[in-house]
Amino acid sequence: MRYLKSLVSAVAIAASIGAAAVVQADTKTTKQALTEDYVREDMPAGFQVVVAEFEGPVFADAKGKTLYNWPLRDLRNGPAGEQKGKPTCTDTKYTTNAGLMSPYPGGMTLPEVETRPTCVQLWPPAYAAADAKPVGKWTIVDRTDGKKQWAYEGLALYTSVLDKQIGDVVGGSSLSPRGPDGGLAGDAEGAMREPVGPPTAMPKQFRIRPFHRGRLLTTVEGRSVYQWDKDADGNSNCTNACAREWAPILAPDRVQPQGEWSTVERSPGVKQWAFRKRPVYTHVLDEKTPSQQGGDVPGWHNVYTQLAPNPPKGFTVQDMVSGQVLADAQGRTIYIYNCNDDAPDQQSCNHPAAPQAYRFMICGKGDWQRCLQQFPYVIAAKDAKSDSRIWSVMDIDPKTGKRAQPGDAGALHVWAYRDRPVYLCGRDKKPGDVECDAWGEFSGIRNGYKAFWLRDDFGRNSI
């Protein structure tokens, strides 16, 4: 609850242009709720920046609903999504698949076609008033229905009907099911909507990579950034042999401190970047970009601009042969279900409000009871509560896979992540097993299950 209060205050502060970085009052909360600073840009009246607890700073409309875009993606058999200045999300009701998912052809009638919503019904456009004027990167584009729509950096903006409260980012995520390194499967997850936000306030030498652990800081080349316990604020103690293994990230000599970024002078005229006052390095032995391997060396840590909210109490982190996964209290690996359909408007099918035929075919060839055996829900205690917005509990009718009312006969009280139930794997026998990872179409990223990876040094899932 304390965190939610802080979040609301963050929204209020952030909404005013030029506000300082969010500061939390409580020490314990501060450790978990440091939020990512962002560039204060001019924006049209009626829009604001909300610092979401997982996605970081995102744009929202006047009601606090997060804004999304739909970038064009090259799928296996053709593109989907939107080009700059050309919104294609309309009130067209699609009834068949498009055949963009190799090797399967198009023209097949979609599940629950009678009630399938249109794109606009799921993704209401951020309409612009007839007299609206462009502001900075915010422009106005013409829709095919004759209306005007706001765009940011040329891509049309939408809200999601799945977002209910200010700070919700349920409609889409910056973290692809493929993982932040892009994986091996092209854009096989489909053309997905992504939350849109202002640039992170950081030097051009750096970038952010979203992970389940949080928003990881890397160099522009993708190398992980580290900090060292033996350094002090404003001073580096890593020299000689240390500096050969941990390469200081040097800053231009004329750079000035900005926000959370400053420099330390390693020797006269040689400046090193510091984030939140501590010098930053790359690890020369890191094999992957980015990597968490440097964090295995005692005293060294990956750097996150914003950590993800902690999972529910009692959840655990398990080592396995490729890294680490999130698990329940018994050590059983948690799985996320991913699904995006193959219609031209590329609707997600991983939410309980969406057709469950996709999931039921993968987990049990249409048999819901078999699904319960192979991919049981993660049951929550009756009084279970989440400390974050990204984790929640909900009631599910296992026969339909859709939401149930509390107390409904046969309903299950289950844990959910981003408003979607999470699962266990019936084949996992011991902590660290991930027998159901990559289970489903395109290794579980198009219609299937992926383990909740926190670290993956040897696969292509999380890092």
Partner: protein, 369 residues
């Protein structure tokens, strides 16, 4: 056994050691001496392919031609004749079959490899009715995997897509190496008692400017995450050929998106050794369910279509031809005899200092600071 190096050595000599090795390879004798320093030599796997016996035109082993793959089967099951069809009864039905395979009779034919000749090893020491004879005349060859996939284009040489991508990914990605380290070696020609240790390697393969594998690289053995892969097995070298005692192993799988390992019962190798590399066969009984999941998880229907590989069809043959490790309750065989043709290059294997091997990784609470 190999001693652990200091942390400083571990971190600083990786690059240098490759240069030393290349310099030492100036003449054969020197290379031999260098390769057997401290009575040990290391190798890293650079290629692996299911052993497939192929005649020139393939007609002897595949008289019906090669099997249909996902695209061909889909077109036959759901002809484009103007019939209105749903996604549920077509694409989702096929994917549901992949992830929930059955042993019901298939609607379409799927052919086993024919003939009595196969490449492989005699895994059980017997000559059974379903065993093959090797191309060199050895009887009792156990390779029921060949019977199952010998007529699937993906597995056939020289450029079946699974073969191609297995090698390609080994070069492309610097993880999941299979390392063999021979210790207590007196001679690469003959030694009746050597120890063969299996590790997962952490480093890229060494290639020349033409993209060809070359010996003399270095590989760090993964003692931190890869404990499950570590095995110490007894072996012997006779006339330059290394053989090992059968041992249950997990081997790293490079072509991996999900579970990056394969479980093999009674695994062993038969490798012609040289100071520069090793080449030959490895064999064992592959756990059918783990193999089937691995194939599905690592290689989407789209990719399997390249090599006309229908997973549900293969599942039926894996289960039908399984010939080892009966289920204690049902008696049904759970594993299938398999042989792989493998190639290794010589590498210098480095072991981490204890502090790295036993480092506690960052947990969720540790990073929330």
């Amino acid at each position: 056994m190999t001693g652990f190096v200091s942390a400083k050595t571990w971190r600083s000599t990786t690059a240098v050691i490759a240069l030393v090795a290349m310099t030492a390879g100036a003449d054969g004798a020197a290379a031999d001496d260098a390769a057997l320093a401290d009575h040990k030599i290391g190798y890293t796997m650079v290629n692996k392919a299911v052993a497939i016996y192929q005649t020139a035109d393939g007609k002897a082993e595949c008289p019906n031609g090669l099997n249909d793959g996902p695209r061909e089967q889909f077109d036959k099951l759901y002809p484009r004749d103007g019939t209105s069809r749903t996604l549920l009864e077509t694409q989702l039905e096929r994917e549901g079959e992949i992830w929930n395979p059955s042993l019901e009779k298939e609607k379409l034919p799927f052919y086993e490899a024919q003939g009595k000749t196969a490449i492989g090893l005699n895994l059980d020491g017997k000559v059974g009715p379903n065993d093959y004879t090797s191309p060199t005349g050895e009887k009792g060859i156990d390779n029921q995997m060949y019977r199952s996939v010998g007529c699937v284009a993906s597995y056939r040489g020289p450029d079946g897509s699974y073969r191609h991508f297995t090698e390609s990914y080994m070069q492309q990605f610097d993880f999941n190496r299979t390392l063999l380290e021979l210790t207590d070696v007196e001679s690469l020609a003959n030694d009746s008692d050597v120890t063969v240790s299996v590790y997962r390697g952490l480093d890229p393969l060494l290639l020349d400017s033409a993209g060809e594998h070359i010996p003399g690289g270095s590989q760090r053995a993964d003692h931190r995450w890869g404990k499950e892969f570590i095995q110490h097995i007894k072996g012997k070298i006779v006339d330059g050929v290394l053989t090992t005692e059968p041992t249950d192993v997990f081997l790293p799988e490079t072509l991996a998106r999900g579970v990056a390992k394969q479980f093999i019962h009674a695994w062993r190798v038969q490798l012609k050794l040289s100071p520069e590399g090793a080449e030959g066969l490895m064999g064992g009984y592959v756990d059918v369910e783990r193999l089937y999941n691995l194939l599905g998880q690592n290689w989407a229907t789209h990719f399997r279509s390249y090599g006309q590989e229908s997973l549900p069809s293969e599942y039926r043959l894996f289960r039908k031809n399984a010939d080892g490790y009966p289920d204690p309750k049902t008696g049904e065989m759970t594993a299938i005899s398999t042989a792989w043709e493998v190639k290794f290059q010589q590498v210098f294997i480095m072991h981490p200092p204890t502090s790295v091997a036993t480092a506690k990784p960052a947990k969720q609470d540790d990073i929330a600071r």
